[in-house]
């Protein structure tokens, strides 16, 4: 297991924030995927269900990303600077996606009555919901492949394009998209009493869950370009039990979907996705940007780390009860 230092704990909180973002906001993006792919006689109802499910919570869910970024630039400023330089283009495009997704969703919700315009907003919302997670995944994949933190050569393509234009990075991008779509479909089975609609999303969850296995294999096949991650995934102590957890959770999710035990499926899917994320984080250890920048080398002075940890503890005291209250009102 990783050595417990102040810097490791703070790096852990960044992963916690990312984990919450993936599990909560990830499903909001996934909802957009199912909006885009809405088909059949119930396509209108499917879209309404997605809107109904994410309406009250998406803004709060989105803040996890801001929290992760703030923690990153406060506690690991050197890592943040390198990320922002090398991944300038994909991150910028991701931001455009975030802006379009959020605005279009809100415009659609508050534009009056159903009409052509609403459909138009809906389409922008859906397309942006597909593009954004792919770019997020590409950024993660580029870090995992050890392409961020390389000294700059001065050549534009080498410094700003080639690092993230790799099959591996894009396979992680697609994997992220599938992951989000899978989560959303699983959650949506619990958002409706209409059994036909429930069946629609059960089928979608099963299909995307199976595709997720395939995508995982493809990613593993391409991971030759991320040797550190490849060895990290297996060699780091504690990694094997984590992968076992992922596997058991994944199978549990699919089996309980098959048996229509949706609550169990939702819990298993959350465990599965979280275990994947922590598996990645653990495989990177002790690096923030493997193999160039370690967590310890990237860390801000101890005083900053201590104060940030203190702020996190106090903040969590306000945040957690508020979040519990929010989800109690709108989710079951």
């Amino acid at each position: 297991m990783p050595e417990i230092t102040l810097a490791t704990i703070l790096a852990g909180t960044v992963v916690v924030a990312l984990n919450a973002y993936v599990v909560l906001a990830g499903a909001d993006f996934g909802g957009g995927v199912w909006d885009l792919l809405a088909t059949g006689p119930r396509s209108g109802k499917q879209r309404d269900l997605v809107a109904h499910a994410i309406g009250p919570v998406w803004e709060a869910n989105h803040v996890w990303l801001i929290l992760a970024i703030v923690l990153l630039f406060t506690c690991f400023p050197a890592g943040f600077a390198e990320l922002a330089i090398t991944l300038h283009i994909p991150l910028f495009l991701m931001l455009v996606g975030i802006v379009l997704r959020g605005s279009a969703f809100s415009f659609r919700s508050y534009d009056r009555e159903h009409d052509v315009r609403q459909e138009y907003w809906g389409r922008i919302f859906a397309v942006a919901s597909v593009v954004t997670p792919v770019l997020l995944g590409v950024a993660v994949g580029t870090v995992a492949a050890g392409r961020v933190g390389v000294p700059r050569s001065g050549d534009f393509a080498t410094d700003f394009l080639r690092p993230w234009l790799t099959p591996f990075a894009w396979s992680i991008g697609l994997y992220t998209l599938l992951l989000f779509a899978f989560l959303a479909a699983v959650y949506l089975t619990l958002e409706t009493d209409d059994s036909a609609l429930q069946e629609d999303f059960r089928a979608r969850a099963l299909v995307s869950g199976v595709l997720l296995f395939v995508a995982a294999l493809v990613t593993l096949g391409l991971s030759g370009s991320a040797p550190l991650i490849r060895t990290g995934l297996l060699a780091v102590p504690g990694a094997v039990p984590l992968h076992l957890t992922t596997g058991i959770a994944a199978v549990t999710a699919l089996v309980s979907l098959w048996k229509r035990r949706y609550r169990l499926a939702r819990a298993a899917a959350i465990v599965q996705v979280s275990a994947i994320l922590w598996g990645w984080a653990l495989a990177q250890y002790p690096y923030l940007l493997p193999p160039h920048l370690s967590i310890g080398d990237a860390a801000a002075p101890a005083v900053t780390l201590r104060l940030t940890l203190g702020a996190l503890v106090v903040g969590a005291g306000v945040l957690i009860p508020s979040l519990v209250y929010l989800f109690r009102i709108f989710k079951r």
């Binding site: 309406g55 009250p56 919570v57 803004e59 709060a60 989105h62 803040v63 801001i66 929290l67 970024i69 703030v70 923690l71 630039f73 406060t74 506690c75 400023p77 050197a78 943040f80 600077a81 390198e82 990320l83 922002a84 330089i85 300038h88 991150l91 910028f92 931001l95 455009v96 975030i98 802006v99 379009l100 997704r101 959020g102 605005s103 969703f105 809100s106 415009f107 919700s109 508050y110 534009d111 009056r112 700059r152 534009f156 410094d159 700003f160 801000a300 002075p301 005083v303 900053t304 104060l307 940030t308 702020a311 903040g315 306000v318 945040l319 508020s322 209250y325 929010l326 009102i329 709108f330």
Partner: protein, 437 residues
């Protein structure tokens, strides 16, 4: 366009766009809560309708504010990675606290917007209050981080790197109080006036509309106290600048030479080369009086630093004049309203007051834009005043004109859509004509 100028322009567009929505996110919850509170006290359904209608507008504006704020948090790194490398550990504190305040705001706004009928009336009102409180706090924290760029504290530079970092000292920097006070008041004044102006427009045609009367009153109730206090807060800021950022004040006032009995320069166009301001009205000793409350006081001019360290004097001067002029106008209109209220006169019965409020509608937002231009342009060529130059902070990524153009186009489109949506929400769907006339 050089990459540095493109990066600065992109940051400027992003800030100028976001600030409008951020301000509404601070101001509107107060108005919604005031209306809902009146409803809970009087049972008057018009107040409930008002709260719901304002909540709708707030939802659209808040969503755009949240995503444009996300853009800024990333742009700090995408455009200014060397600034963040230097400053992150020192000013991360207010940003972290802002993260939590914003979290609280987003959570309770979700509860407020979608919670009608799902939670008790009291819980709903409380949710609104929490949105208003956390909105104000998140604004204060972000402005505190900006204040640090003007008044860097909590570190010493050794070999170009910050050492002896003290994030608490960074957060309690000497500009924080003046700047956060000024911005918070501005947010209430601008939002309140914008709302009051919209309803004043309708009152001109339908002076008896209960809906618009109540909306107009709540808008001014939030705006007037803030607008009247703002010149006092501005005085604090000017005196602060005179002591700690004299170059910014000198540029704002186009004072080229250090002197006693410094005049207050109204209007005009500063000429950098000739070191004079053409076509200006000068009030003798005015600036010395304002900056030090003493007509004989010496005020530092632009000559205290080499011209290469000057900000863009004409733009800073123009921004400052615009901010002060617009703010003064709002304060005067507010005093007029207070005077009428004290004499128990109906302000709606004064067509000239209604007109004055309508004109005031955009003034608050324009004053805020001008104020931020003054703050940001006036700090140049520094990102961290006296410590890190903007040119040293920028990313090595070339071709920055493309993201600048992309974000400009995106925000122009969004701005048009939001304006049109609000217009169609309020104007083509007026409740005043049918239900509540």
């Amino acid at each position: 366009m050089s990459d540095l100028l493109a990066a600065r322009s992109q940051m400027a567009i992003s800030l100028a766009f976001h600030i409008l929505f951020a301000v509404v996110g601070i101001g509107m919850p107060c108005l919604m809560v005031a209306a809902e509170w009146r409803w809970s006290r009087t049972g008057d359904p018009v107040y409930l309708e008002l709260a719901k209608r304002w909540a709708k507008g707030t939802a659209i504006l808040f969503a755009v504010g949240a995503v444009s704020g996300t853009v800024l948090s990333f742009e700090l790194g995408l455009l200014w990675p060397e600034f963040m490398r230097f400053a992150g550990p020192i000013i991360g504190m207010p940003f972290s606290l802002e993260g939590f305040a914003f979290f609280t705001e987003a959570i309770f706004l979700g509860i407020y917007l979608y919670g009608w009928g799902r939670i008790s009336r009291r819980a709903h009102l409380l949710a609104g209050l929490l949105v208003a409180l956390s909105g104000m706090l998140s604004g204060i924290f972000v402005v505190t981080a900006n204040a640090w760029m003007n008044a860097p504290a909590g570190f010493t530079v050794v070999d170009g790197k910050p050492t002896g970092i003290d994030p608490i000292a960074g957060m309690l920097n000497s500009a924080a109080l003046e700047q956060t006070l000024h911005m918070t008041l501005a947010a209430y004044a601008a939002t309140g006036f914008a709302v009051a102006a919209i309803h004043a427009w309708f009152l001109r045609r339908a002076p008896e509309s209960g809906f618009h009367r109540r909306a107009f009153a709540i808008g001014l109730l939030v705006a007037a106290p803030a607008a009247i206090l703002q010149p006092l807060s501005g005085d604090l800021s000017a005196r602060y600048l005179a002591r700690h950022q004299p170059v910014k004040l000198a540029a704002a006032e186009a004072l080229f030479e250090t002197r006693t009995h410094a005049p207050l320069t109204l209007g005009g166009w500063p000429d950098r080369e000739a070191r004079t301001t053409r076509f200006a009205i000068e009030i003798p000793s005015g600036l010395s009086l304002l900056a030090y409350h003493d007509p004989a006081a010496e005020v530092k001019g632009l000559d205290t630093v080499p011209p290469s360290d000057w900000p863009n004097v004409p733009l800073v001067h123009l921004s400052f004049q615009a901010m002060v002029g617009l703010g003064t106008y709002l304060a005067l209109v507010s005093l007029w309203v207070v005077w009428l209220a004290l004499r128990r006169r109906d302000p709606v019965g004064h067509p000239w007051l209604l007109r004055a409020v309508i004109v005031g509608g955009p003034c608050g937002m324009l004053a805020i834009e001008a104020g931020w231009m003054l703050t940001e342009l006036g700090r140049q060529p520094w990102t961290i005043y006296g410590v890190l130059r903007t040119a040293e902070a920028v990313t090595p990524m070339p071709g920055l004109i493309y993201p600048f153009l992309a974000i400009t186009l995106l925000y122009c489109l969004l701005g048009v859509v939001v304006a049109w949506l609000l217009y169609s929400q309020i104007v083509t769907n007026p409740p005043a004509t049918a239900e509540y006339a």
